[in-house]
Structures are given as C-alpha cells and as structure tokens.
C-alpha cells in the first residue's frame, strides 16, 4: 500500500468516526438537527451548533461511558478540543488509542 493509500484510508476512517461521534452527541443531547447535517468544522458551542455548558457535562458523560475517555478542564488544548466536531472526534480517537 502506498503512503497515499494509507492517508486516504485514514481520512476515511476519521470521517466514519466523526459521524459516529455526531450520532452519539445528537442522541445524548436530544438535538433536533440530524447528525449528518452537523458541519464538522463548525463550533460546537455558542454560534454553530449552539451548545452550552450543561451540554458539555452531558457530552463528557456519554463520551466517558462510550469510549472510556475522560474530558478535563485543565487540559491546555481544551479550547481546540471543543472547537468543532472534527477536533472533538480527533481527541477521542487519540486518547482512546493512547
């Protein structure tokens, strides 16, 4: 397999995981928006998906239950982790692998 193939495969599996996390969030927070309509680059909080801190707590619970990944406030990268669906899914995938 060439490096290009590997990169493409990786990107594809990241997309799949992103949709899985999107379904998880929409289900846990009873959101009206269909998971596939969430813009993976849009902010989760404030503008964009419009989530608030109550949702963040609920998300941390479902993420911990499903993937065993603990979200922490003192994480310096927190701003980036919650910046979008893509960054959140990436963080969960990395933490789960590590």
């Amino acid at each position: 397999m060439t490096t290009q193939d590997a990169t493409a495969l990786q990107a594809q599996s990241a997309d799949l995981f992103e949709s899985e996390v999107a379904r998880l969030i929409v289900g846990a927070l009873s959101l009206e928006i269909p998971p596939e309509e969430i813009d993976p680059e849009a902010p989760l909080f404030g503008e964009g998906l419009g989530l608030d801190s109550i949702d963040a707590l609920e998300m941390s619970l479902v993420i911990s239950k499903t993937y065993g990944v603990q979200l922490r406030s003192d994480d310096e990268r927190n701003h980036r982790i919650f910046a979008s669906l893509r960054s959140l899914a990436g963080h969960i995938a990395r933490q789960r692998a590590g």
């Binding site: 009873s30 404030g46 419009g50 963040a56 911990s64 922490r72």
Partner: protein
C-alpha cells in the same frame, strides 16, 4: 460573632486556599494580598468580578469590600455582554476585575493577579451596612432587579451556614465546589464561607467529573463537595470512586431522590441540599433521603410568600411554601413565570419581550417543557411568527441578549400563534403546531 469590622476573624496561620501547584495560601497571606490590591483599585466605583480562578475571585471581592466598592454578582469569565452593558450603564465607575486578557470589554479593567506594591497601613473597619455585593434577578419588568447585600447580612448568613453544616469545629474543612463564585449560591459558599468559617477552598478547575475527582484527591482532611444536581448526576453516572467525603451539598434545583440515595450509598456520605434564592440567599437545608421537608436556617424567618432575612428584611419568594407546625416546610411549586436552567433563572415574560424586540418578529412565545426540572437535556422551545426570516436569523439576534442556557433549542416558525379571544395561548393549541 456578629460583623466585627474585619474581613475575617480567622487565625492568620490557617489555610484558606489550596492552589494546586502554587501551594496552599494562609489567611494572613491572603489578607495582605487583598489589602495591597485594595490600594490599587480606582477611587470609587462598582466591581464586576470576571475572575475565573476562585482565589483571584475572592481576592478581588475582599479588596473591593475593604475599599467600599460593591461587587456586582452575575459576572464570571463567560459574562453575557448584556450583563456588562447593564453594569456599565447603571453603575457609575463600574470596572471589571479580571485574571486574564479580556480584549473588547466595555469598561476599565483591573488585573487582580498583577503584582501589588507592599500594602499601605490597614484599612478602616467595615461597617455592617456597607453594600458588599449586589445580586441580580430577571424579573418580568424587562430590566434585571438589583438585590442589595450589606456586609453584615452576608456575615450573618455565612455564620448560619457554618453552624448548620458544622464548619467551625475542629480542623479546617477542604471545600471543592463546582459552582461559579459569582453566582449567589457559589458566592455564599466559596466567597463568604472561607472568610467566616473554617474552610479552605480548592481553586483549580472543577467542571468535568474527572476534574472533581482530581480536586478531591488533591486536598487533605475533611472534604466537602459543593455542587449541583447536574454535576452530581454526571459524577454518579460515571460510577468512579471519589476520595472520602464528609458531606456533599447541592443547590440550584431539587435533587432527585435516586441521585441522593446513590450518593449516600456509593460514596458513604450525607447528601445535603440548600434551598435559596438570589434575593434572600440560602434559607433552609435538608438531608434529601430523610424526606422532602426543609429546615430553615437559624435566625431566618419564613412564612408563605415571604422570608425575613437578618440584615436585609422582608423578601418576596417565588416558590409556594407549605409549613408544618414544627417550622419545617415543603416546596409546592413556583408562584411566578420563572424558569430555571443550569442554576440560572429567567422570566418567560421577559424572554417573550426580548423575542418580540427582534427585527422581523411579529409575534412569538417561549415555552418550557414539562420535564425542564428533571431532564438535564431539556430546553426551551420558541414558537415564532416572522415572515421572511429564518430560525438562524432569529437565534443569531437572540444571542448576546439572552443567556445561552435559555436560547430556544427548538424554534418553530409558524404563520400565526393560536391566541384565544383574550390573547392567551392555550398550551394544547401551541403543542398542535409542532411539526
């Protein structure tokens, strides 16, 4: 000990903060830092406390009290622009106390964490009638209502709480709190208590369940967790062990009995609740598993619709209370159109007025779902008549004017609202509009 003119009667050697890697802070070091900060504050004014760190928040509050500046509660690092605008407009000399950069803030900034010169001589005694804080509630008038908190009243309330929760005997109790210090419940428990009771506050992050577990493990001795039903639900559901606790206190909304039972069983600790309101502060407590009756705080008088608070006077209550002959009471529902979410409250009438003020909105109404108190993912719905405007347009206009917790999670655009002959909106008729 009634208001003795000092910030705190505690010994200078006692611990008042655990600051993680920065180490513990003694009462003496804290008082010196507060006196030095007070010397750096503007001549006169009102303090808007936007500090995210609990140590900085209390340092700012203490300095403002010494200087005679009331602290406007309701801020915090995520303060709504509408709150800051209100403070700047209504309070002369309003300035923001901050512990991080905050570009674009519409009032002068004072960095609480900047180094201060050596303290000047001591500050004069604090009179009991000095306004130490002003809390705000959203009423149905469209403008927030201010509630004045004299220093003497705050001291008496803190001492009543210390007595109720046994915080003056023996060793210092370590407090881990998940509630913001600029919210009335968090203000009383993490700003006033450390000044007037033998408690030391953990100042690090406590938002996510793992933060809380780490925080509790990092502090010594008798541990007290001060939190909300939302945080407790997440902590219990995760099911991971916590460091041993002396007690857990919850407030902002009634705690479901199952959660209280799980806390007592899984953590082996009493699960206590406080009943309070921004207008009156903490008024009563109960141990949830012992029943639904509340025991009023010492010194406070309650009767249906009214609390008489020492140092403040009579305060109207927004809940219906039913009393037993022994003075304990039950909560029998709300008397007003207030809705509570995540420890914040809003008036539906005021939300409707804000909605009506959005350009292009002809008619509109916010509706609270039945399960608002019990389901953490439950949010408000809005039915809106706004020809030619999208739900996103309207939501965008509401942001910044409405606290994020109260933004409608569902916005249903309709041609007309089913108002009856007197202009009222029957719930059933509204529900029939759901897509």
């Amino acid at each position: 000990m009634r208001s003795d003119g000092t910030l705190t009667p505690r010994g200078r050697g006692e611990i008042i903060f655990y600051r993680g890697a920065a180490g513990p802070v003694t009462v003496g070091a804290f008082l010196d830092a507060a006196a030095a900060l007070a010397a750096r504050l503007p001549e006169a004014g009102h303090a808007v406390n936007l500090c995210g760190d609990r140590y900085h928040a209390l340092l700012g509050f203490a300095a403002a009290v010494l200087r005679g500046h009331p602290t406007l509660l309701g801020g915090g690092p995520g303060a709504a622009p509408a709150f800051l605008d209100m403070a700047a407009r209504n309070y002369p000399g309003a300035y923001a106390m901050v512990d991080q950069e905050r570009p674009g803030t519409s009032m002068p900034l004072c960095r609480v964490d900047a180094p201060s010169a050596a303290p000047a001589a001591g500050w004069p005694a604090i009179p009991p009638d000095r306004v130490a804080a002003i809390a705000f509630t959203s009423g149905s008038t469209g403008q927030p209502t201010a509630h004045i908190k004299p220093w003497g009243a705050l001291v008496q309330a803190a001492e009543a709480a210390a007595q109720r929760f046994g915080l003056r005997e023996g060793a210092v109790t370590s407090v881990v709190a998940t509630v913001p210090p600029q919210h009335m419940y968090g203000f009383e428990t993490t700003m006033m208590l450390p000044l007037r009771a033998a408690v030391a506050i953990h100042s690090g992050a406590t938002f996510f369940p793992s933060d809380v577990r780490d925080a509790l493990a990092s502090v010594p001795g008798r541990r007290l967790l001060i939190t909300t039903p939302l945080h407790l639900r997440a902590l219990v559901a995760e099911g991971r062990p916590l460091a041993p606790l002396a007690a857990v206190i919850s407030a902002t909304a009634p705690l479901p009995r199952e959660t209280a039972e799980a806390v007592e069983r899984d953590w082996g600790t009493p699960m206590l609740e406080i009943y309070g309101a921004s207008e009156a502060g903490s008024m009563a407590s109960r141990r949830t598993v012992e029943g639904d009756r509340w025991l009023p705080y010492p010194g406070l008088k309650l009767r249906p619709g009214v609390a008489t608070v020492p140092g403040i006077g009579e305060v109207a209550l927004s809940d219906a209370l039913e009393f037993d002959p022994d003075g304990r009471f039950r909560l029998m529902g709300r008397l007003s159109d207030l809705v509570k979410l995540g420890g914040k409250r809003a008036s539906l009438a005021e939300l409707n007025r804000t909605l009506a003020g959005v350009q292009g909105v002809i008619d509109g109404v916010f509706v609270a779902p039945e399960d608002l108190d019990s389901n953490p993912t439950s949010r408000l719905t809005a039915y809106v008549v706004a020809p030619g405007r999208s739900a996103d347009d309207i939501l965008g206009a509401l942001r910044g004017r409405v606290d994020p917790a109260f933004l409608p999670r569902r916005m249903i655009l309709v041609d007309a609202l089913p108002r009856d002959a007197v202009g009222k909106l029957p719930k059933r008729a509204l529900a029939a509009l759901d897509p």
